[in-house]
Symmetry: C2
Subunit: 200 residues, 2 copies
């Protein structure tokens, strides 16, 4: 059987990471979504270990010190991080783990776990990206401009990634990611043990 | 548009390279089959530049000296080689070139052109491999044993390859190779120029 791996789905704000990841997980029940740890309080309906691992700041900082995160960040005063143990345990079981994350986070993962497979999700054009940022957010034009500028800067990190998927139609982007997953399962490094079983 | 690339389909004798490659080319008319140069004489119906590039020994040796081959070999007294220029010209045009070749040849290509994508085609088991070698050839048991031993030795080179495809059912092996091709088209190194066009 093929070994598991971590698939990082990343890209600038407005590329459609959230929508694409939801569809992939709906269509592929065996994929495992990476669960983040956070210091923010649970919202109604959120379950420990399903939506997040809820931890206090002391515990979170201890985890940082112990190198327990593939990446972490401070978002509006709350800490969020991807626990290494959860991901590696799933991979050990042969599962494929999906991590949806912004570009800064993906670059951290690239440092801490370069064996992951990195997909850069892109809008079909920068004007479409601006439309999407504008549609989605109830923010001022200044905020939209800032997000847009950040997105533009983030495109420069594409060379740190393995694959590019243009998210024009969601279903096509999803199918492309499914193809990447199927191809990655055929990589020699993940099927190496099959050789031994054939040689018997 | 995605850049072209060379897909090397290789594996031990009896893995079914020929059958699989024929089916892939039938189903994917845009793929280009790599045309070898050879010093053997044309057989009836064989066309220059389609089946082979027919050259004399002097010319072939000159091509070796000039580094014009991705790989070459002497088979029963005739020289066969893969001309670099043909492959690179096709890739330059954005085409995907398929090269069907034995393990020794693939290892040479890996040296001369490591950018290629290497697929190792495998039988489902060594006993099935022996069946296939036996069925196909009108050779003595000693010859069959030798081929089988060689095939076994060749499995050790799998780590030089990128992907493993088990050829149990031909159609499934073909579909897996098609998935590999589609995924490789999405590699950042082949779509790098799309970023520039999006940034405009």
């Amino acid at each position: 059987m093929s070994k598991g791996f971590l698939l990082v789905i990343s890209g600038p704000s407005g590329a459609g990471k959230g929508t694409v990841c939801r569809r992939i997980l709906e269509r592929n029940k065996k994929l495992v979504f990476s669960v983040s740890a956070t210091t923010r309080l649970p919202r109604r309906g959120e379950k420990e270990g399903v939506n997040y691992f809820f931890v206090d700041e002391e515990k979170f900082n201890k985890m940082i010190e112990d190198g327990d995160f593939l990446e972490y960040a401070n978002v509006h005063g709350n800490l969020y991080g991807t626990p290494k143990k959860f991901v590696l345990d799933q991979i050990e079981k042969g599962n494929i783990v999906i991590l949806e994350i912004d570009v800064q986070g993906a670059l951290q993962v690239k440092q801490s776990y370069p064996e992951a497979v990195f997909v850069f999700l892109l809008p079909p054009s920068m004007s479409e990206l601006k439309n999407r940022i504008r549609k989605r957010r109830t923010e001022s034009e200044d905020d939209i401009d800032l997000r847009f500028k950040n997105a533009f800067e983030e495109l420069k990190f594409v060379d740190e990634y393995d694959y590019i998927v243009i998210n024009d139609e969601v279903i096509e982007a999803v199918q492309k990611i499914e193809i990447i997953i199927e191809a990655e399962k055929l990589k020699v490094k993940r099927l190496r043990n099959i050789i031994d079983s054939i040689m018997k």
